[in-house]
């Protein structure tokens, strides 16, 4: 990857806790030079909007200078206003290279609209600062039943997966696999005192602790696709097994120099409190039932196209074929 593109992507950095997005050093000076944005940086409660001057973001910029509490009025032009992360492949990026970008375009086309993005790193606070603040209307990927949202019927279900180097030994398939007791195991850390990714709990419950290594899910936001480090760590032999969310692992496993196996974890749920499979849906504001219904209808009508996009990105799916969207009466 060229340094130019690295720079362009390295937009932002966000974190948990207070859940704000911000800008990286690469774009910092440029942003501070803009009086409106400098003012925003001083006065904006809690978060600075995720912008990068290197991308065409005029509408998004206009949106973020507003008071957070004021809902954004519908724009004069017909646009599907999508809230998305500018640096989080395979899901989305500001170049439109993620599968959620593709899905947004598909849905917008069906609605006769164009896509208009508000970029914000998808971390804690993402919902509050984007869709809830009225800056945009649709989040393409959320866990079905995500509390603050009105979600569509799920359009895919994926799973946490084991990622191993091909050939060295049989792929790990279960948390009860004895190999996990001796292999170096990578997991992702969220950075919250009270929560971590499901594999962390599953391993801890089995006393698999000493050989577990953590990768912050935030990663280094100056780099492209910060959460991808855990998959690269398998290829680099930093760890023998990584346990990561399927779409992320499936996509990055294909892009390593050595062949990797990606295998759904089992059991599918480690007790009710620790599920490894999640239904993913689109989300809108609770009050936007009409928009939700429109999206549902499109996802139903175009389920084959949705499946093709997911296939193209190597999104592992379980327990729900592409017809599930129509069949699911949730």
């Amino acid at each position: 990857m060229s340094s130019r593109s690295r720079k362009a992507r390295g937009g932002w950095r966000v974190a948990r806790g207070d859940r704000r997005a911000g800008l990286t050093p690469a774009v910092e000076l440029a942003v501070l030079a803009l009086p409106a944005l400098a003012l925003l940086a001083v006065t904006a409660p809690w978060r600075v909007a995720s912008l990068t001057p290197l991308a065409p973001v005029s509408v998004a910029q206009a949106a973020v200078v507003r008071d957070h509490a004021t809902p954004h009025p519908p724009p004069a032009t017909r646009a599907l206003r999508v809230c998305a992360d500018p640096n989080n492949l395979p899901f989305s990026n500001e170049r439109g290279e993620g599968f959620e970008n593709r899905l947004a375009e598909l849905v917008a086309r069906e609605m006769g609209r164009r896509v208009e993005y508000t970029w914000w790193a998808q971390r804690r606070g993402f919902w509050r600062n984007t869709i809830k603040a009225g800056r945009c209307d649709v989040v393409v990927g959320l866990p079905s039943g995500y509390g603050p949202a009105l979600t569509t019927r799920p359009y895919y279900r994926s799973t946490y997966v084991f990622v191993t180097r091909r050939g060295a030994r049989p792929p790990v398939r279960s948390f009860d696999d004895a190999a996990l007791r001796t292999a170096r195991v990578g997991v992702q850390l969220i950075g919250d005192d009270y929560a971590n990714t499901p594999p962390v709990a599953a391993l801890a419950r089995r006393g698999i602790v000493d050989n577990v290594r953590g990768y912050m899910i935030y990663g280094d936001y100056r780099t492209p696709s910060p959460p991808s480090a855990i998959v690269a760590a398998v290829a680099r032999r930093e760890v023998d097994v990584a346990v990561a969310w399927g779409p992320l692992a499936g996509y990055f496993a294909r892009r390593q120099r050595v062949p990797l196996d990606v295998v759904p974890v089992s059991p599918a749920s480690d007790g009710a409190a620790v599920p490894f499979t999640f239904d993913i849906a689109m989300g809108v504001r609770k009050s936007d039932a009409a928009l939700r219904d429109t999206l549902d209808a499109i996802l139903t009508r175009r389920h084959a196209a949705v499946a093709r996009i997911l296939d193209a990105y190597g999104v592992p799916r379980v327990g729900m074929d592409s017809n599930r969207v129509t069949a699911d009466a949730r």
Partner: protein, 659 residues
């Protein structure tokens, strides 16, 4: 143990005005029936006094009891500046003559936050009025203490960390200069709990302070020109800085925030003259990195051993072990030791980091010249509750069992009022000052907290009634000590928490199941307390219930007036001996700052406080969070749902004086 004042709550009608804090004395007698009578009567008197808006509430029997208990130990009216240590008096090491200034965050190295000025006293405090105000223009949590040096008042704002110098010699104290460090905006996304800054320090003609994006700067106190600027950390590694530095013998001491972000915590000393890093002590990892060497003599066995910063963790987890340092540093010039505590271990959930996880939640004594550790004591081995140990240490020379000893006093997150021998690290006493369920006490023989297994957190299990909640019995908000009354003045909270049902959550495209942490008021229903504690008698003397957590610091003066602020905006003056409310003023926003007192060029005594709600507790207002999102701000929002009705954002300095 439930402090008895909570029993009084039942006797007090809930219909009292929210602004009327209730002064409830500590129970005097062991007889429960009698105690309830006394408490009820006193509470009724307090309410009556409050409703009259009258400062002349009668003294109650409990204060008489306190006076009787401590009369022999603390002669009233004695000053601390003699420096001599004699049985029966409480003094501070390295006490300096009162110069009417406020040059360090805690006023002095012993961190007493005691001003020797006495123009404002218990008789005339009721006439206090606003002398002037200053608008910072930054509407985030204002946690800093202003400084006053050479007739100039200095204050640091939250991000973007502006430094203002105000000229006290001119009417209205106009801006002399402003320094703008322009920290990276992205740093706001890394800080855990609002974008606060806890202030600056003055030394040798310069103001030193830290920016959120990990720079320490030295600014010429006269001109506002930057002298040096040193970058100490990286926001992309989860590091930020929010603490106020301390300068000791030409070293600027700075610690890092970000324990939840996978950092490896440290304290760093910079050469005050050049800004070059003199030493850095990490808080996890091998002894050589922690600056543990031959001089390290921890008092308790569980803190002794080689490379505990590695062996008390599962392999390699110390690399991301947290244990930052975002609180306060004290210094004993006689022993040439600094004292400070580290933040909690992270970011792994506790089940993934079996072991003590040293040196998270640990109190350190170090040589400021070399950084060498001299002793350490881990307050919360294997912390499960986010109990940082960053709270301030007050250094006193004080009678303990009839003999004067050099002590270090802390009111810490787990809820204990700890008294240490500060030369050795021996824990002399540890008394609960709040309702505690998360532990069963501290074993003075082993120095270890006795955990309560029933409250141990396990994935997928609901654990209720964990007290104190994550912010602890007391958080960063510093207490004060008066050598005249012999009392500690403790601003704190009364919060418990549940860790309950799990819900799907989503970060960076990765779904997970988040624990739902909910904080709420502890026994009695009030979320805050301001209390006076007698460290010799080891008991509470009086306490005041506050609606919201008392997230401001405390100030006590030689006029025997104690000051603090509330999150709904009241700035209060109390009689330091009785706790009686003398005066209060409603500022524009909630108060989470630290009051100071100084003598102006006109010879008058002033009291200053920054008003502007925020911080972890006030994030619901400063960050405009949704009150329905009860797990926001790590569960704190649940306990603060109503704050938006009581305080809006602010960022104003208020300065008060007598007419």
């Amino acid at each position: 143990m439930i402090p008895p004042f909570r029993r009084a709550a039942a006797a007090v009608p809930d219909t009292r005005p929210a602004v009327c804090a209730e002064r409830v004395p500590r129970r005097a007698h062991r007889s429960r029936a009698l105690a309830l009578l006394v408490v009820a009567a006193a509470a009724a008197a307090a309410v009556a006094g409050c409703s009259r808006g009258d400062a002349n509430t009668t003294r109650d029997g409990n204060n008489a009891e306190r006076s009787a208990a401590t009369a022999g130990a603390i002669p009233k009216g004695s000053a601390s500046s003699s420096g001599g240590v004699a049985a029966g008096k409480i003094t501070s090491p390295g006490a300096e003559a009162e110069d009417g200034q406020w040059v360090r965050p805690a006023k002095n190295f012993a961190s007493t936050r005691f001003s020797g000025l006495d123009q404002i006293n218990t008789t005339n405090a009721k006439t206090l009025r606003v002398a002037w105000t200053f608008e910072t223009g930054v509407l985030r949590g204002q946690e800093g203490a202003p400084l006053v040096v050479n007739n100039t008042l200095y204050l640091v704002t939250p991000y973007p960390n502006l430094l203002y110098a105000l000229d006290l010699t001119k009417p209205g104290a106009p801006v002399k200069w402003k320094y703008e460090p322009k920290p990276l905006a992205a740093a706001q996304g890394v800080a855990c709990c609002d974008v606060v800054n806890r202030g600056a320090v003055f030394d040798n003609g310069r103001i030193y302070y830290n920016t959120l994006d990990n720079h320490t700067v030295a600014v010429d106190a006269n001109t506002g020109k930057e002298v040096w600027n040193t970058k100490l950390g990286d926001i992309n590694q989860g590091e930020t800085i929010t603490m106020a530095p301390l300068v000791v013998k030409g070293k600027v001491l700075v610690g890092v925030s970000g324990g939840e972000m996978g950092i490896r915590g440290w304290l760093t000393a910079l050469d005050a003259a050049t800004g070059k890093i003199a030493w850095r002590a990490y808080h996890t990892g091998p002894d050589k990195d922690v600056l543990i060497g031959p001089r390290f003599k921890p008092f308790y066995k569980s803190d002794q051993g080689k490379d505990l910063g590695i062996s008390s963790w599962p392999p390699d987890k110390w690399h991301q072990g947290g244990a930052g340092m975002w609180g306060w540093i004290s210094y004993d010039p006689g022993a040439n030791l600094i004292y400070y505590g580290t933040s909690n271990a992270g970011p792994w959930n506790p089940e993934m980091r079996p072991g003590d996880n040293k040196w998270g939640s640990t109190l350190f004594a170090r040589d400021p010249d070399t950084g060498e550790a001299v002793w350490a004591w881990q307050a919360s081995p294997h912390d499960e509750y986010d109990y940082d140990e960053i709270n301030e240490s007050i250094l006193l020379d004080m009678p303990v069992n009839g003999q004067t000893r050099p002590v270090l006093v802390r009111a810490d997150r787990p809820g204990y009022l700890d008294v240490f021998d500060r030369r050795t690290g021996e824990l002399l006493s540890a008394d609960p000052f709040v309702h505690i369920t998360s532990s069963k006490g501290i074993d003075l023989k082993t120095g270890r907290m006795i955990p309560n297994e029933e409250k141990s957190l396990k994935t997928g299990q609901v654990v209720r009634d964990i007290c104190p909640a994550a912010p602890g019995g007391k958080d960063w908000q510093p207490m004060a000590f008066s050598p005249r009354t012999g009392l500690l003045y403790i601003p704190h909270q009364n919060l418990c928490m549940d860790e309950e049902a799990v819900e799907p959550n989503y970060i960076a495209g990765t779904p997970y199941v988040g624990a739902n942490v909910k904080m709420y008021a502890g026994p009695g229903g009030n979320r805050g307390v301001f209390s006076a504690w007698d460290p010799v008698a080891r008991k509470e003397v009086w306490s005041i219930k506050e609606e919201f957590p008392v997230w401001s610091g405390a100030l006590v003066t030689a006029g025997d007036v104690v000051f603090y602020g509330t999150m709904d905006g009241w700035f209060k003056a109390l009689d330091a001996r009785s706790g009686q409310l003398l005066w209060q003023f409603k500022t524009g926003s909630g108060i989470i700052g630290q009051p100071i007192s100084f003598r102006g060029p006109d010879g008058k005594q002033y009291v200053a406080i920054l008003s502007g709600v925020g911080g972890w507790s006030g994030a619901i207002v400063a960050g405009n969070l949704d009150p329905r999102d009860s797990s926001a701000a790590l569960g704190f929002v649940n306990a603060m749902k109503d704050l938006k009705q009581h305080s809006t954002k602010g960022g104003t300095l208020y300065v008060f004086a007598l007419p």
